[in-house]
Every structure is written in C-alpha cells, then in structure tokens.
Amino acid sequence: MQSFEYANPATVQEAVGLLGARWGQADVLAGGTDLLSLMKEHLHEPKRLVNIKNIKELEGIQKTASGLRIGALVTMDELAKNAEVHAAYQSLAEAAAGIPSPQIRHMGTVGGDLCQRPRCWYYRQGFGLFAMKDGKSLIPEGENKYHAIFGGGPAYFVSASSLGPALVSLGARVKLVSAKGTREVPVAKFFVTPASEAAREIALQPNEILTEIIVPAAAVHTATYEVRQKEALDWPLAAASVALTMNGRTVTSAKVVLGHVAPTPWEATGAEAALKGKTITADTAEAAGKAAVLGATPLSQNAYKVTLAKVAVKRALMEAVKTAKA
C-alpha cells in the first residue's frame, strides 16, 4: 500500500473540498471493504484518503413525503433490518440481506456498494478495466465464467453492486455533491459502461461524493433473487430484481433488472414488455425469464449464466407475487 495523507472531515462541505479534480488524487473511505484491498493491490494509489465516517449528515434512513432517503453511510446490515425498507422495498432488503458475510454487511455501506470496483480477476491483477494485454482483450479466450453475458464488450466485467439492480428497478436516484453544487442522477444512469479503459464504470466524478439515495414511493410489489453458490462469502452468479405495479392480479407495468450479468445493472426490457397486462403464473414468469435473456451473448465459459439469469427472473417474479398475495 502506498503512503497517503489521511483526512477526517466532519461535514460534506469540508469533505468535497478535500477531493481532487482527477482520479488518483483522493479516494473516499467509508466501510473500506473494497477500497483497502484495492490499495493493498496498488490498483488505487490515492495521495489522500478522505474518511467520511465522521459525517453525521450521511447517516440514517428517513421516510419522506416522496419516498425514502438513505444516507450513504447506512450499512448493508442497517438497510437489511430497517422496518421501512422491509415494509415497502422488499427487493432492496433482500439484496442487502443476501450479502453472505456478516462482516461485510456490518462494515459495508450503501454508498460503497454503488461505488465499488469490479471483481473481474484480470482487473484485480492489474490488467485494467478492459483486461487488455498486448492490445487485445484477455476475456473472450480467457477465464470468463464469471464475466458478462450482455453488452458484447469491450467491457466484459460485471457490476458488483448488490443494490444496483433493485435501485434501478425502483426508479431510485442518487445525490452527488461537489464543491460546485449538488446533482441528482437516476441510479439507472449512475452505472455506465465505460467507453474507454481510463473511464469509470459509474457517473461519479473525482470531485464528488455520493451522499444519499432517494427511493421514490410507489405501490409496487418487489423482490430480488440472487443465484449464489455458497452460503459463505461469495458473489452472486446472476441476480434479478423486479418491481411490479399491479391492478388486482394484473401487471400494469414491470421493471426487471438483472445483476452480475453486464457491466451495469441490466434492464431486461424484453421481460418488462412480456409481463405487461399479464397475471404472474409459473408460465408467465418462465416466459418473462426467457424474454429477459433474449439477446444475451455468452462467452466461451459462461453460457450457464444465461440459464441462471432466466431462473433468477422467474423466481424473483414468483417471490414478488407471493408478497403481493400476502
């Protein structure tokens, strides 16, 4: 780990003043569950570390007139156990609870979940976001069983965010604050497929801090289903979050977002169209799963993830209807 300056601001205003104009000048430290390993591997070598854990205004979950405000420092454990979240945003609670390590649930924050870097093993070994060697991507002919089945490259990593798919399906926004002001970005647009090796996979700028997540109120039935091999610490192989607006038993609109299958949470518009006007049954859920993976372009070792994504959609839908009936 490279030596660095350590700053302990008490306010957001103070914190953003400590950030740099370019990546590499400063990194924001919250739970540190990802950042510290990035620093130990010399993938991030910030000159300054801005610890935001002492900033009170970044804490807490509040119900507002328009929905829910979740502070960036809320831990995954707090989110999973919050009564409001449980009552109205089942998919979000399930996504947080699904993180299998209690240590990470207790240390990891919602802001960090959205800002964490990909787990792609080529990236983690220093081959960059696009896993390039000698001008060529290592992924298509390499060890790609955990890589993307959507997007078609050159970014083949998958978004590691646990909350991303649920937040996109719920139409959530994030608040990004810099010294120059505040902007709100839909989570769907916060995650981006980087256009170049040097770009980031999120819309956050180096001089900004993600301060909160705003989840709109909506009469929806939601669920998240993650396919994860281990009960112990492990990443999902595929996940789906669904949010259904229903009229009686009929779906009036559906959001279906896949996780861990693309460089961003992947909105399965085909599945959304297939569900509109339908009643959720085993058959319609199965059909929506199939529609969700139309257009998938699996790599040499990850065709199985197409199956898993399909099953995740089907099971998330069945789960969402279960809560609807209850």
Binding site: M1, W121, Y122, Q125, F127, E141, Q229, L233, Y304, T307
Partner: protein, 718 residues
C-alpha cells in the same frame, strides 16, 4: 534390563484413560487466543520480511537491481534469490526479499527492486492431454491378465471420463518462519509439520552444524502435508537475518504467494472403461489417466483404487508438466484422485447394469486386499444404514418431483497410517512428578492429548499429573507428521518409555513390597502387587524411595518391528456416503447429510478421532463443491490466488455430518493406526456420485459448480 516389560495395550475392558474422550488439552489456549503460533511471535529486535515474486509463468531474469530498495530508510537487509540468469518456471517464483523495520517498508522496498525479465513461452492448462505435446511424459503402463479378452467376453461395458482439478492446501497460517542467524548458530520458529527433521535439513542447506540449530514450534495453523521442509523462505529468511547482523527476521508468504507456491494437490483426469457381468462383478478395467503436479510432473495414482486384485487391467498414466507451483503432499496424496476416478467409474458401471452401487461395491470388494474385504463389506452396510440408503436411494434422476432432486453417492478409502520412527523419554522424579518428552508436534490433531492419555493410562495417574514437552529440536526426536504416522508413533514411544521407566521404579520399590519387580503394577495412583491390592504404596510413597535419583527412560518405535510388537500397525478402510440436493435449474448443490464410517485400529480418544473425520469432511466438501486453482492460458497466471475466488466452504455449506468410528474388537486388537488422512479421501467421489445420482447424468469434473452441473444437464459436454 532384566525383564522386558509387556508393552501390550491393556485389554479394552480394563482401560481407564485410553478409549475415553477427555477434552483436547490445547482447546482453552487456542479458543482464547493465548496460543502463540510462530507467525504471532515477535522476538526482540525482529525485522519484517517481504518477498518479491515472479509475475511471469516462465521467464529468465536478465538483470536485477536492488540499490534503490537498499537505500530506503528502514531497510536492513536485501537478498536476491533469483540472480540474473535464473530461469523461473512459474508465477510466484521467489525473486528477492527485503527485511525492514516495518512490514510496510519491507513491502514498499520490494516494489523498488528493478528486475528485467525475458519472458518465455508458458504452458499452464492440464485438462486437455492432446494440447500438452512435449509437456506430457510417460508416467507408467501396466497390464494385468488379458483385458482384451475380458472386454470381449463382458456382458456389459461402461465408459466415462472424469476429472479432479488442482486444489491448494490454503493453510490459514501461511508458510514461513521467524529465523535468526547469528554467527554459527540459528534459532528458528517455523510453521512446520516436521520439528525433528527441520534442523537437519536446514543444516545441509546453510552449512551450519545441526547441533547449532534450535527449532521451536508450539502451534501450527494448518499444514495438511505442505509444511515439511525449511523451503526457500527459510533459506532466504536466514540470509536476510545474517545480512542484518543477526536480527531475527519474520518471513511468511502473502496469501497470493501461499496459493501459488505453498503447495497444491495434483490434478487427475481419466478416460475409463469397465467390463463385467450383469450380476455386478467387474472383470475388466481400462484407464488412461493424466494430471499435473505443476512444473514437477506427477501422474495420477494407480487405478483401480482399492480393487487392486481385479484380474484384467490395462492402464496408461501420463504426467503433464505445467508452469505452475509445485505439488506437495495433500492430505492422503494421490488418494482423493484415485478414489474419485475409481469410484465414479464403478458407479457408472452400476448404473449401466441397473444395480444399486452399494451392492456393486460390496460384490467387488473381493478384489480389495484380503485383510480388508470383510471390513469394506461391513462398512458399506453400516454407512448405508446410517444414510437410510435403502429408503432414500433411487436410480438416477428419479428422486424428487420439482426442480430440486435428491441423490446419494458412495465412495471408499484405504490408508496405511503406521507409526513413524521416533523416540520419547519418560521421567519419574522422586517427588512423584512425571514428564514425557518427545520432539514431535501437534498439528491440531490432538497429539498432546493423546500422549498424555497414554502416559496417564500407563502410570495409573490422572492426566493432570503428566507434564508434556513437545515441539523443539532439543527433545528426543520423533518423526515428521506425515502419512498419518504420528499417533502410531507417539502412542508407542510414550507407552514404551513409560513402561521402561516403571520397570526401573519397580526395581527400587519391589523389596519394600516383598515382591519381584515384574509382579508390580501401577494402577489408580498406587504401585501394587498384581493380584494383591493390599500390598501397595501410594505413587508418591513409591517415588520417594528413589531418594535423590530421577528415572529417565527412553521408548522407541521402530517401524519394521512395530507390527510384531502390536502397539501400532497400518491398514485402515473407510466408506462414505453423500446425500445431496441439486437444484436442476441453477446447478447448485447442497449437502443434506454426509456419512463417514472409518476404522483406525485402537482409538485412544474417540472424540478427537471423530474431530479428525469432521475436519476431513469439511475440508473435502470444499474441494468437492467449490475449490479449484484457475490458471489463465494467455498470461500463465493463477487467477484466484486469494480467498475470494479460491472458494472455501463456510459452515453453512457443510450440511449434517454423521461420523461413525468403526471401533469393533477386531479393529481394536490390531493396535493404533493413523487417521488424519483416510477420511479426507472419498469425499469428491461420494459427492460426485450423489450429484450424478440426483440429476441423472454424469457430471465428470469436480468441483460440482453450477457451470459444471448445468453443462452436464444441458448437454454442453460430451
């Protein structure tokens, strides 16, 4: 000595301490964190070492410049392990190391060492033998009987291909040591399975007299066969210490290096054909197998496993060399692979002829070594009973109506486990205190507890009255803890040294009891005349008769005569059954219940024995479901040298374990047999067979991950 004592174990019904299950003596210090592992030590003036390792799978060092690193404040010593010209054969090869006042400085300094490499072509993939070319070397051919005729005459023939990949030991405490080289003497605190052999080995490599090398280790954080020798890091650490004026240096592998070069279990792949009768009798076996032990080519073990007396066999074994870290013994080396290949092929044959595999295994147990045939049949029945096999087993793919299918699979193990050569000293002091001194080590298996139990039994004293010293090179040498050889050795040396010491005591005490020395026995804290319990002295009173003279007597285990002596022997059998549920939509496998039936001769502490089996199963389930070293063909790198994508089982992944120690009198009378390894053998095979039984098609390659299971279900593999 006038009369050689009768060393035999007391009869089963007369044992007071042996055969009982006192809690392990190291439990409280370990669970409270007070136990100091060598990686916890920080002797006065200690420096921190860090390694620079090769990022390339195959490269030559063309130049190396350490000048910048040497000048970094805090750096006390730099050592080049791979000078210019060195050809390195795998990623992780030790290039250079630094010792500094802090860990951070040491790491930083390794990054300041400038190395130029000439990158050379590499080969790292072992699954496909056809692609190995010159990296494939003949590992042995064998022809028994007339397999061509036997296949021609066979009523049924089954064929399959099977694979079990390279896995690592993944010791939680990595390899390494604290070492101090001052003048012509060395103090070393290694993490090792071989305290007694360590100094001799180091002595040869550093040209320091073995008598001047002191080795000490109290606790080890996992070895599993990978920690026998001083290794490169001891040599490098010693040189760093010497160059730093004799300050102790701590040099342990980082996790990535541990996964690359700390040892691994070789892979094994095979195409196997079986022929036989419709009644289940196998008459012909043909196997074409290959695997890799890293750069050091190692071919798979002999097949068929256990069923060695099969009349017609043709086998070809091939060793593939790859540019990856070298294999080391992995908890029953060669046996998991051979068990997997053999037991899966037999299960496929049973399926082919429509028979229950338990019956096929029982029938073909006729081909096991003669002395084990009935043991296997008994254990197959016992395991089936404990697993509710008759009630739960169904032919393939017929168990469960929804997407989740249940399956049962069986596999078997064989192991030696005789005690290694070793010595112990038993001491009786005039004040009645008793000590056992032996230079063995406790790998966490319970060796301390076992020795103390044997001594307490022999002296007729409570365990709390025995003082035990182990873990240093200054004690009478025991052997390295490999091959499950420790329990046989230490139980024998403790028994014999204690009996020898008692014989001395009896000589002193006999006149005052009006008896001959050989008429005395030590029971319940007394020395008394056999058959006349009234003629006795308390232990303390008896020892006071020594005046000021201490008794110190040796006891030795000599492997070639141990069998006849009867205290320890070799040859254990084991049968295991996995009961799994497989989600056929996701390919995820869950263990419902796992049954292990295991014999290991005379069991000194049943609870510790069961713990060994539990530990072996937990480790084995990790390998069956999750673990594999993933090599990248293009870069030659290990892609998962971490504990994130090198996936280990957590406790919730294990399921319900049922352990049955086969402690029947016919096993007990054979003497003590080692246990650490045999229960780790059959797990991949039992789980693989259970998954196949559940989903209806063979999943050829371990681990049973969703990609492998779904590939089999969706027909993506041939």
């Amino acid at each position: 000595m006038a009369n050689t004592p009768d060393y035999h174990w007391p009869p089963m019904d007369q044992r007071k301490v042996i055969g009982t299950s006192p809690k392990r003596l190291d439990g409280p210090v370990k669970s409270s964190g007070r136990a100091k592992y060598t990686s916890d030590l920080k002797p006065q003036g200690m420096l921190f070492g860090a390694y620079l390792i090769s990022p390339h799978a195959h490269a030559k060092v063309t130049s190396i410049d350490t000048s910048v690193a040497e000048k970094l404040p805090g750096v006390k010593s730099v050592y080049v392990a791979a000078p210019a010209g060195t050809e390195m054969q795998y990623q992780g090869w030790e290039v250079a190391a630094v010792a500094a006042t802090t860990e951070e400085i040491a790491r930083e300094a390794t990054r300041k060492i400038k190395v130029e490499y000439e990158v050379l072509p590499h080969f790292v993939k072992d699954e496909d033998l056809a692609s190995a070319g010159a990296n494939a070397k003949q590992g042995g051919e064998r022809l028994v009987g007339d397999p061509d005729k036997a296949f021609a005459d066979a009523e049924a023939v089954s064929e399959g291909h099977y694979g079990i990949p390279v896995v690592t030991h993944c010791c939680l405490e990595p390899h390494g040591q604290v070492i101090q080289w001052m003048g012509d003497s060395i103090n070393v605190w290694p993490s090792t399975q071989n305290v007694p052999g360590y100094a001799g080995d180091l002595s040869q490599r550093l040209q320091v007299p073995a008598t001047n090398i002191k080795v000490k280790m109290d606790y080890i954080g996992g070895g599993f066969g990978s920690k026998f020798n001083p290794d490169a890091w001891a040599i490098v650490g010693a040189n760093l210490s010497k160059n730093a004026g004799g300050r102790p240096v701590k040099l342990y592998l980082e996790r990535n290096a541990e996964q690359m070069i700390g040892g691994n279990r070789p892979s094994a792949y095979a195409k196997i054909k079986l022929g036989g009768k419709k009644d289940g009798t196998i008459t012909a076996w043909q196997t074409d197998s290959w695997g890799t032990g890293g750069f050091q080519a190692v071919s798979p073990g002999q097949q068929p496993y256990v069923f060695t007396n099969l009349p017609n066999i043709r086998e070809v074994r091939t060793a593939v060399s790859v540019n990856a870290g070298t294999q080391r013994a992995w908890r029953a080396p060669g046996n998991q692979q051979a068990s997997y290949l053999t037991c899966c092929a037999i299960e496929d044959y049973a399926h082919k002829i429509g028979m229950d595999p338990i019956e096929v295994f029982k029938l073909n147990a006729q081909y096991a070594p003669t002395a084990r045939i009935e043991t296997y049949r008994y254990q197959l029945d016992k395991a089936a009973e404990l697993a509710d096999w008759k009630k739960l087993w169904r032919p393939r793919g017929q168990n469960g109506s929804g997407p989740v299918k249940r399956g049962l699979g069986v596999a078997i193990a064989a192991w030696g486990g005789a005690g290694h050569a070793g010595k112990a000293r038993a001491v009786i002091n005039p004040d009645g205190s008793v000590a056992i001194e032996t230079g063995t080590q406790d790998l966490g298996t319970g060796t301390r507890t076992i020795i103390t139990q044997v001594a307490a039994e022999t002296f007729g004293l409570p365990m709390s009255q025995i003082k035990l010293s182990i873990g240093t090179s200054e004690l009478p040498a025991d052997g390295g803890s490999g091959g499950s050889s420790t329990v046989g050795a230490v139980s024998t040396t403790t028994r014999k040294s204690s009996m020898n010491a008692l014989a001395k005591l009896y000589e002193v005490v006999a006149p005052s009891l009006g008896a001959q020395p050989e008429e005395l026995e030590a029971v319940d804290g007394h020395v008394r005349v056999k058959g006349s319990p009234n003629k006795s002295l308390t232990w303390q009173a008896a020892c006071r008769k020594l005046g000021s003279t201490q008794i110190a007597e040796m006891g030795e285990n000599v492997p070639r005569s141990a069998q006849a002596e009867g205290l320890n022997t070799q040859g254990a059998a084991g049968v295991q059954i996995a009961d799994v549920s497989v989600d056929t939509e996701t390919g995820i496998v869950k263990i419902n219940r796992y049954v292990a039936v295991q014999d290991c001769g005379l069991v000194i502490n049943p609870k510790l024995a069961e713990s060994q089996v539990f530990g072996a199963i937990i480790m084995g389930i990790g390998t069956a479901l999750f673990e594999e070293r993933i090599m990248d063909a293009q870069t030659g790198r290990v892609l998962n040298p971490d504990m994130e994508f090198y996936k280990l089982a957590g406790i919730a992944d294990i399921g319900n374990l049922v352990v049955h120690m086969d402690i029947r009198p016919e096993n007990d009378k054979r003497g003590v047999i080692g246990l650490g390894e045999p229960p780790a053998i059959p797990i991949c095979a039992a789980v693989g067979n259970a998954v196949t039984n559940a989903i209806g098609v063979r999943v050829p390659t371990i681990p049973m991950t969703p990609d492998h299971v779904l590939a089999a279900l969706e027909g993506r593999i041939g």
